[in-house]
């Protein structure tokens, strides 16, 4: 079979290159958006998922550490410790603050003060001294800080004892100090944001017992607590990402449609000849569909290659950026192909109106 669709496409190399580049840019944009979304979700939930806490106790109505406030008496930890099945319980205080880095105000830090004895809520197994901080690695890179350097929070100097990973929620990064340092920064004694519990035996049973003993607080098992974070992030961020992705996809589709439409106009004589020779409307539809899919597939491949090529550069240029590519992001390709197929509708009206008798005009 003569590859007429491809040959006609390659007759307009400039248009082909621009269109493939447009599709590639669109696919890159979509991949970028979804990778950022996955990265933000992972960054915001990994601490909750991996810190080894079985039950999170919060103020009634509070179900996440990012976007809700929670105030509890720190002494509640002692009360929780007495409940059957609780192995350890300790307070965690959360402060949202900027830091002073070499006289320059940083972006916002989510600072968590954990109990240095139980280490519940600590990002890693570390014996933190007073005046020390474990700082998110990307935050440290952004401000060119390293272990041993000092930064100031609320006029209190903190020496960086270690760096943590998986503690970057894109818009803010996490830092970890001792509970007493956290309380000092907050300026109020005896206040915790959460009570963290490690259980013995069945977690569900322990959670039920805590709820019975403390009906005025919210008791979240860690799986539920993680899910709430996912939902919270999705409800706030996902619609925006999807709107951006939809705009991107629409622009990509329009680029392909415009190319096919202008190609139908430019190659009108060729299409008239094909019609005169007996090629029907269906043949011409298949032809532009092939062209559209060829351009889309080529654009997808280039988009993926481009995105993977520039990812290390992006991460170097924007230290707090988190890009997480997931297998489900491959769904972009069938969607792109569907949009490409839809774009093939654009030139149909032009093709239908081409009159085969045009071939007799000089």
């Amino acid at each position: 079979m003569v590859p007429v669709a491809r040959r006609l496409l390659f007759r307009n190399r400039g248009g082909l290159i621009v269109t493939v580049a447009g599709v590639a840019a669109t696919v890159s944009l979509l991949l970028f958006l979804f990778a950022v979304h996955a990265g933000v979700k992972d960054g915001a939930t990994r601490y909750v998922r991996t810190t080894g806490v079985d039950i999170w106790i919060a103020q009634k109505g509070s179900d996440n550490i990012i976007k809700s406030s929670s105030f509890l008496p720190a002494s509640l930890a002692d009360e929780v410790s007495t409940i059957d099945g609780v192995a350890q319980a300790s307070p965690l205080v959360r402060i949202i603050s900027k830091a002073d880095v070499r006289g320059r105000l940083s972006s916002t830090l989510f600072l968590f003060g954990f109990d240095p004895e139980t280490k519940l809520g600590a990002p890693k197994d570390i014996a933190l001294k007073q005046g020390e901080i474990v700082l998110d690695e990307s935050f440290a890179r952004k401000y060119e800080l390293g272990v041993g350097d000092t930064l100031t929070i609320q006029r209190r100097p903190f020496r960086i004892a270690a760096l943590s990973q998986g503690t970057n929620a894109l818009l803010s990064q996490f830092g970890f100090v001792r509970f007493d340092d956290g309380a000092a920064i907050l300026g109020i004694d005896g206040i915790a944001s959460f009570i963290l519990v490690r259980t013995r035996g069945d977690r569900g049973d322990v959670a039920r017992r805590i709820r019975e003993a403390l009906p005025n607080v919210a008791v979240h098992e860690s799986d539920d607590f993680t899910r709430y974070h996912d939902e919270e992030l999705d409800s706030g961020v996902l619609p925006v990402f999807f709107a951006l992705a939809a705009f991107g996809a629409a622009v990509g589709g329009l680029i392909v449609a415009l190319m096919l439409y202008s190609s139908a106009l430019e190659r009108r004589d060729d299409y008239a000849t094909l019609k005169a020779l007996g090629a029907g409307q269906r043949y011409l539809l298949r032809l532009v569909l092939r062209q559209s899919l060829f351009v889309t597939v080529l654009g997808c491949i280039l988009g993926v290659v481009f995105m993977f090529a520039i990812t290390p550069l992006l991460l170097r240029a924007i230290p707090t950026l988190v890009l997480l590519y997931l297998p489900r992001h491959a769904l972009i390709f069938p969607v792109a192909l569907a949009i490409g197929a839809l774009a093939a509708i654009a030139p149909l009206r032009v093709l239908r109106r081409i009159y085969p008798g045009e071939v007799f005009r000089g």
Partner: protein, 215 residues
């Protein structure tokens, strides 16, 4: 093979213009008919109706016993694809394709398994098979166009001013190929031209003026 009866074609561009006026024409298998007339006399419109590209306002065209005016559009496309070969004054080769591909395209469209090279060999253009049509001379292009017109093994071959863009020797060669398609293959060949020098090649000459056959 071709029987056209009382063909009329009118165009309405504000004022009704009759391009072909009551033309009847028969072309037998193996016959070469030359339709001659000045520019604007309606000969190309007549050719378009014979090939099923244009529907007549009234009258009928019957090819191999099938009335073209009664065929729905898709059937007419299939008819053109399988039974009609066209040769155009400006060749109308697809410049995105090679010479071989231009001929192979029609074979593919017709769903046949023929070899484009055999046709190119027949018209003396096999050596051009891999070339792009843009680099060919007018005579070479017309040879390729004739090979393409024969690619679907048509019953009728319709040529519009086939010598119009050629010098005299290339024109003679093109006409010889068309006559060969009639006499050796038994196809009905209709040539439209205002070039009276090729009249001696035809079995019959039909003169047309102002849309009417004058002799």
């Amino acid at each position: 093979m071709i029987a056209a009866r009382s063909l009329v074609k009118e165009y309405d561009a504000g004022v009704v213009f009759r391009a072909v006026d009551d033309v009847s024409l028969d072309v037998a298998r193996g016959e070469v008919v030359l339709i001659i007339g000045p520019n604007g006399s309606g000969k190309t419109t007549l050719l378009s109706m014979l090939g099923g590209l244009v529907r007549p306002t009234s009258g009928s065209v019957v090819v191999e016993g099938r009335a073209l005016d009664e065929m729905p559009e898709r059937e007419l496309e299939t008819f053109r694809l399988r039974r009609v070969g066209f040769v155009f004054q400006t060749f109308r080769l697809l410049d995105a394709l090679s010479v071989r591909e231009n001929v192979q395209l029609v074979i593919d469209l017709a769903g046949e398994k023929r070899n484009a090279d055999a046709l190119l060999d027949r018209v003396g253009a096999l050596h051009l098979a891999n070339r792009n049509t843009r680099v060919l001379s007018g005579g070479e292009k017309q040879r390729v166009a004739i090979a393409r017109a024969l690619a679907n093994d048509p019953a009728i071959l319709l040529a519009d001013e086939p010598t119009g863009s050629l010098d005299s020797s290339a024109g003679e060669a093109a006409i010889a190929l068309l006559c060969d398609a009639a006499r050796n293959d038994g196809r009905a060949v209709v040539i439209v031209s205002h070039d009276t020098r090729i009249a001696h090649h035809a079995d019959r000459v039909v003169r047309i003026t102002d849309g009417r056959v004058v002799e």
